[in-house]
Symmetry: C2
Subunit: 413 residues, 2 copies
């Protein structure tokens, strides 16, 4: 059990290495199943939207010029030429001095260039329409192409599709989209002390909690998680399990022991893999220092620390961006997403030479949102469950004072 | 086509009505499938965690008192009694003056009450351990029950399960959880102008974009969406389609026409349903005024406005909380979730007598996050796609000035 000195990389240095891993291939999925998937190609509009001039309000299609000067005291009177039904081409063309009844969304008849809202018009028994307010050309009308022009690039590759994107694509008749397939992420637990969830742990044994946590984080990040199982602390067994998982995975996660011995073993097993390269052996973050990043046959392998809180935080700050990169997403989330400003409720000292991630619980009190640090050891799960997110003390900063405004990166879900 | 005056309800009044609808029943699911599901019962810990005293660091188990006074210049020397292996009960008990090697996570042997980190100890050739720093009792040890005590309520009913919750439950051997089943939400589109996505719309016709948008929003809110299809503007057909969908749904959404005629039709169809009661006919929000809430045989029915942006915003501010209520969730999201502070980039005038929801696009510029209002008509989809969230101008407020700090409710996804 030798004391080992890590050559620590910063978080930014680790993230910069991800560009060497290519996103997975694309696949085509029906629009109805595309929510949350990542576009693999820029998507241009195949059609113009709307395709025809539509009424934005219930009312009367008119030639705008015919309404100029109309007031409640001195209305304009137009001849009611007929009615436009929903979903049909208008059966009429407006001559000067004419109006046609039409509902919201109805197609404007030829000759018409505006709609008088029903509130400002009245049908008289003699077949005329009284207009009490003028409309400008184009008023209360949605013009062809006002929403989308054919050929316009609507959504860029790398975008995670939202409900409103699906709505727009449906309107354009785009029935399927080309998206990156979900990266397959194999999760392998190593450690002699680890037993399956269904087991009754004996003395010195614990259940495989980290795997459940990691698998759920993978799924949340858009990956397709697969649980490989538990491998004992044995370099050959670990190496064999990794080699077996490699061909069916786009990313391997080792939910491992946090002892120096377990790390040595993981390193040895990684180095035995085909085209193995250890890229990172220790990251300048707290918790999460003993994180390992390697590549085997071009596939990234992330060795997570053994303490559950450390593993969860490493997944949040390093694992999610890697799953996002492999899945073709522009970024895990926009800069403003999943963050909130709060006031720190006590002084926090940083870790020398490390970027420090502190679990906090948010507590609204009047107008103030407080961030209460939860300082339990990384070996505990319950402070993680009680926390809402992370406050970062940047590398080189001694700490943050009570009362300072901090940005809290919220845990997703 | 009569001009209709709504008795408008405020958003709060509508939300208050949701308490009359009971959450759906519970079901039991395996832990691995429980992410994002809502707990139906308070969950108490069946076991204590950890079950035995564990080392939080690699090092040596000791009796703390034996290390008192140790310094680099004047170390204490302890007899190395043996080693504790991972995953096993220690095969030894420490006598005074003894130490035992043990890895992070290993079980403390009897007699030991602290761990000296490997960094502050050295094994000498004569079988003794040199300790260069004292430890206090309990130092570097995770005590039994320090994480969780058996019987302690860990997670409350109504909580949406996060990855870390699954980790904690796995550690406790909880292999399945009782959650509310996902509320089944039937989405029915009505309108003579609406054709399926696969059709080529003729003059006056449009594809069923709103249904795709709404279905995706339902899914995102935790509901189980089901697309009923398109029903023409005919009270009997609409009534029959609603009645047919009712027995298989926990919530009916009508993605409807926005013309007064279409609304009248929807109302008539709703009133023809068994045990029908129209609860809300018009909401004091913009967009979204023509929203309808009804109950039929105890099942809520929400009539959405026809303009896509209006429908999306009504789903966000009224639909999501209803799906959450039916699904047993304590709230759609915590007060601080999905919100961000930004500076408004132009003056915004509110709508008299209405709570106003303005789509905004977020734009970081140096240290400032700007919210740019997107003021396109509700009939357009593309401003919705370009927007990141909503700024609310409260009821009774005349507007918001350029440069003011506003809270942006982010669109999920």
């Amino acid at each position: 059990m030798a004391l080992e000195f890590f050559r620590l990389k910063t978080r930014e240095e680790v993230l910069a290495l991800y560009s060497r891993f290519a996103p997975v291939e694309a696949e085509t999925v029906p629009l109805a199943e595309a929510r949350g998937r990542v576009l693999a190609r820029d998507l241009a509009a195949p059609e113009t939207l709307p395709a025809f001039p539509r009424a934005a309000m219930d009312g009367y299609a008119v030639r705008a010029a015919d309404t100029f000067g109309a007031t409640p005291g001195l209305p304009q009177y137009l001849e009611l030429a007929g009615e436009v039904a929903m979903g049909e081409a208008p059966g009429l063309t407006l001559a000067p001095g004419q109006a046609a009844r039409l509902p919201t969304g109805g197609m404007l008849p030829g000759g018409a260039d505006a709609v008088v809202m029903v509130e400002y018009a009245a049908e008289l028994p003699d077949g005329t329409v009284e207009v009490r307010r003028p409309v400008a050309p184009g008023e209360n009308v949605v013009r062809p192409g006002e929403d989308v022009r054919a050929g316009e690039v609507l959504l860029m590759a790398g975008r995670r599709l939202k409900p409103q994107d699906l709505g727009l694509l449906a309107a354009l008749g785009v029935g399927e989209v080309t998206v990156y397939r979900r990266p397959r992420v194999a999760v392998l637990s190593s450690g002699n002390e680890i037993v399956p969830l269904s087991a009754s742990p004996g003395p010195g044994q614990v259940r495989d909690a980290n795997a459940y946590l990691t698998l759920a984080q993978v799924e949340e990040a858009g990956g397709l998680p697969a649980y490989v199982g538990i491998v004992p602390d044995d370099a050959e067994a670990l190496s064999a399990a990794l080699a077996a998982a490699l061909p069916r995975a786009d990313l391997l996660l080792i939910s491992g022991g946090s002892s120096v011995g377990a790390r040595d073993l993981t390193l040895a097993a990684l180095q035995s893999l085909p085209e193995a390269e250890v890229l990172v052996h220790g990251v300048a973050i707290r918790p999460g220092k003993p994180t390992i990043l390697a590549a085997a046959a071009g596939i990234p392998v992330l060795g997570l620390p053994g303490h559950p809180a450390s593993a969860a935080i490493v997944m949040q700050v390093l694992g999610r961006p890697l799953v996002a990169r492999l899945g073709g997403a522009q970024e895990a989330s926009p800069a403003w997403g999943g963050r909130v400003l709060a006031r720190l409720s006590r002084n926090l000292a940083g870790a020398t030479g490390r970027e420090d991630f502190v679990r906090v619980r948010l507590r609204p009190e009047g107008e103030t949102l407080w961030a209460d640090p939860l300082l339990g050891p990384s070996a505990l799960l319950s402070p993680l469950v009680k926390s809402d997110g992370l406050v970062t003390i940047p590398l080189g900063q001694e700490g943050i004072f009570q009362g300072e405004l901090v940005e809290v990166e919220l845990f997703p879900g």
